[in-house]
Symmetry: C2
Subunit: 291 residues, 2 copies
């Protein structure tokens, strides 16, 4: 089968063997925002045409492709949800060159009763074997970072932190960004930011310190972005940690930063490869009723 993690800004496709191994892969920048006139079917055929021509017939999609801005809007599935629940709830999408099914997103509430949603991350979580076997807490860092709890192979709760998007907005559209020089992460500054997040005063005060410390000549332009990133990730991690191991899923750069922050906050982290989406798609696809 073919599994596709089709997000807002990226398209990642995997050609999978019957036992879920990755036989081939391709990715492009044709996320749903880059598809003109809602031509999702044509885009899909463009991207995976050679695999279809080679005999693949089953295509499973996950991610924002199932949102209101995507191909077909899939209603959210409620918690708790595991691979069997998702496989049961797949949405069929008409497509002339094969069977296409869509994994729905998941809706829940946080402990205070405020709504929560995810699309795509549920599939990645199902692809982390250690988490599916033993349960526990997982974190998928990014634009909208997700922290999820898994028990007995099912997702039972999750919460979202807008860390990545807030960081980009602060860098790009506030006075804090004006004195930042882009570059690799400066570990000492990142660590100082993570420590700073434990101080009194709150996040809105801590971020002003990026400017004040720079004005005072105590923070280098090349380090201030790392310091700001440490403040935000530190706030996120402190609010989400619960004492157990955190399973980190994502790019090696981001999971390395988060592992660093989690350790500094007294937690433990285990990093997993970013191909969790492929494993999750294979797992759900293996339970689906194909024609």
């Amino acid at each position: 089968m073919i599994g596709i993690d089709w997000g807002t800004t990226s398209f990642r496709a995997f050609r999978l063997t019957a036992d879920g191994a990755i036989r081939d892969r391709r990715s492009s920048a044709r996320g749903i925002m880059a598809v003109p006139d809602q031509r999702f079917g044509d885009t899909l055929r463009d991207e995976i045409g050679p695999w279809l021509a080679a005999g693949e017939d089953r295509v499973l999609l996950s991610g924002m492709i199932g949102s209101r801005q995507g191909w077909v809007e899939a209603p959210y599935l409620p918690l708790p949800a595991g691979a069997a629940d998702l496989a049961e709830a797949l949405i069929d999408i008409p497509f002339d060159w094969g069977q296409v099914k869509l994994v729905p997103g998941i809706a829940g509430h946080d402990a205070s009763g405020i709504a929560e949603v995810m699309r795509g991350e549920e599939t990645q979580l199902l692809g982390v074997d250690a988490l599916m076997r033993a349960g526990g807490l997982a974190c998928l860092p990014g634009t909208h970072a997700k922290w999820a709890r898994v028990a007995e192979g099912r997702l039972v709760g999750f919460s979202t932190h807008m860390t990545g998007e807030v960081l980009a907005a602060l860098k790009g559209h506030t006075i804090l960004g004006r004195m930042m020089r882009d570059g690799p992460v400066v570990d000492a500054a990142f660590d100082a930011g993570v420590r700073r997040s434990a101080d009194p005063g709150g996040l809105l005060h801590h971020v002003f310190g990026v400017r004040a410390e720079a004005l005072a000549g105590r923070l280098d332009d090349g380090a201030s972005g790392s310091y700001l990133s440490g403040i935000l990730i530190g706030h996120e991690v402190r609010a989400a940690l619960d004492g157990g191991v955190v399973h980190l899923v994502g790019s090696s750069e981001l999971t390395a930063l988060y592992a660093r922050a989690i350790a500094a906050c007294g937690g433990m982290a285990e990093r997993h490869a970013a191909d969790a989406a492929a494993v999750g798609l294979a797992r759900i696809g293996g339970l689906a009723r194909w024609g």
Copy 2:
């Protein structure tokens, strides 16, 4: 004398009587960012020419006009600082049509040793009679909200919260703004945001709830901006409150919102007129050595 609060985006001038009353006023959008080619002297003459022609000779400036991007960069004065300390530290600026002096900003550290700076707010604080008489905690809401402690007529500590600027960045440059309809503050949504700020999960999680609640159909597009504003101001107020009365200084719209948030967080607030800058300029100017 003439007192001028010259900020980044606004210019507010007051013609003051010998006992500090406002005889006349004018304001414009010619903040320091709107002055071309550093022509601050020409701009000043344009703005207050008629008052100079009428015989005024003493001009006292406060605000970002004393920053690196302003007319002359004035070194920050250290804490503690009162009107006499500031009057002692005024910077003379050459000007062909009268005497011009500049109130320096103030630098300090928060309780954790991180740098803090203000330019202009020190003059507004000195203009709040109740605060100068009895001391206490004051808040000047805005782009970079300041919370300051005054004892025996001197500023002894302060901290900055980037609430206004973060709110603008989130509304203008994240997914949260996409579903917001501008309009007057919706009190119930603002109050819900302030309550939300007391929940576990942290600010980066709470702001995502603005989107999730809207997706769930539980938050109206016309109310989501007020809800977001309540979340941010709620976080600021909870981090800054200390049990006593808060003296609020600023526009009536902003101080009304903050008074509402402070009451919801169990505090007490006293609102003061936005003309505190004029009173503060008169007070400092009255202690200055004019030629």
